[in-house]
Amino acid sequence: MSARPALRHRLAERGVDRQLLLLLPAALFVVTLFIYPFLYGVGLSFQPTRGGMLGAYREFFTDAYLRDTILTTLRLSLPAALLNVLASVPIAYRMRGRFRGKRLVTTLLVVPITLGTVLTAQGLLNFLGPTGWFNRTLLSAGLVDAPVRLTNNFWGVFFSLVITGFPFAFLLVLSYLSGIDPSLERAAATLGAGRWQRFRRITLPLLAPGLATTFCLTFVLAFSVFPSAVLVGDPSGTTRVMSIAAYDAAYVRYDYPLASAVAVLMGLVELLVIAAVLGWRALLYTGTTAGGKG
């Protein structure tokens, strides 16, 4: 009779690593600090003071002032995320190789990450505000008669989202691009492909999955915009985004169920957009970006 193999071997045969048990304390932490409050919030959204279980949701969708925040948020975050990704591609494409001053340029492009939203808003107000340098220059040059309104409206928030979101998108796209074997484009060149063809037929298809991921991440960043929508936006009008509606419900009207419902809807809208993008990504080639054996 042979003895039963050790527990470790039996687990290993089923692809279970016993050391994974070490993750348990961390998992417990996540459950108490994230999953419990999340489920509590979801539960809360179904217990409004009036209107039955779906009362808070019904209120959200019947009140145009609340309902429209979905569109307002999407109108800001989708173009901002798209612009961040699209602007990153040509810049990162130019910066793949080695050149003098690359570190300086990269630093300049990435610095806004360290600024934070509030400092960016302050800068935007100083620079683009009605009495900011930009408008003063335009006025003194006689190009406009009245200051151009670029803050405390849609554009203020949009600029803020681009400034803070671009570095993320750029760094991600740059790392995806540098993962593509440079000899592929050289090979395409020797096969007769010009600059544009090389980009369109070789680099872009290999980069596209990375662009989808980058878009998702910058979209999520832009979607939960709150500080800049208040500081450089028009928080009761054109930039009344979902997070402001949630804040209003919770801390102005003390209607926690409604605030929870807004939060849940925020998550759902984000999920829908991300699912659509990742669904498109799944149609693309997502394998290796190396040209053969190294």
């Binding site: 074997d181 050289r186 020797t190 492909a193 290999l206």
Partner: protein
Amino acid sequence: MTAAATRRPGTPAGRPGRFETLRLDGVSRSFGGHEALADLDLTIRRGEFIALLGPSGCGKSTALNCLAGLLPLTRGSIWQDEARLDVLPPERRGFGMVFQNYALFPHLSVRRNIAFGLQMRKVPRAELRRRVDEALRLVHLQEQAGKLPGQLSGGQQQRVAIARAVVLEPSLVLMDEPLSNLDAKLRLEMRTEIRRLHQSLGLTTVYVTHDQEEALSLADRLVVLRAGRVQQIGPPEQLHAEPANWHVADFMGYRNLLPLTAGPRRGAGIVVEIEGHELVGTPVGDPAPGSAVMAAVRPEDLIIGPGLPATVEVVEYQGREVAVEARTAGGIALSLLSADRPAVGDRIAVTVEPRRLLVFPS
């Protein structure tokens, strides 16, 4: 609208023109003050197989990239018959290139990898299909046509890379150490395959390698490079028998390189003294008597017989014969081949025929 009308001006159409000669005129390339390739003069005739041979860092890959247009020249020019070529970007030169890592497009099937260059040249669909099929048959990859490069073995990837380059019927095929990633058996097979394709398709090929055996067996002419400079250009037989200097000799299998002092001339030969024993060699490049010289001899030309005494240190079995490493009393290491199998520690004496001992100025 016809295909011809939609073709953009300046795009090479169909098959690029063949040349009679391709002339490299003082081609040089520096990287930050360091001259990686200096004054390469070479005329390639149509149908030739040229091997650029040298150790790593000798400038052979630099030369190939300059030819392909992937690296701009620092000095010099390249002429295809009477047309100047070095001012054209790579996509306008009409050369095929096989990269060391193959550089297959990972997101395209084997068929579409091979078709890529033809599509860039706007070859009509029916002809494109026919030529890709033909190329697939040529490299025996019909079964793999629909697969992605990642699903192929190293040897198959290599064949796709070759098919992709030759399907364009390029006026020149450039190969950058194409066999260096393959195992020994496959390397021999592909070597024959490359020579067969070169002959049957009437290609002109420039082939970069650091493997002298590969270069000798494949090429019509070899260009030996060292530290960016040409050491010798010639057919394999010439380089094998008459290396121009001891660096080339080193590369051509003269494993015994002995730093000695030149003695007097004796007839056509030259006397060198090694630990009190006189050997007669053949002078190459006029070494002056009394000057420092490098005496070069192949292991197979060192024979056991009355002459220089040495002690056997290592014996390696190599099939038909054994390789012997021996050391003289003065500490000079010698490599030789022997039909008999001496034992380690045996005292032997070696000698060499005068015409097999080349004496170069060092």
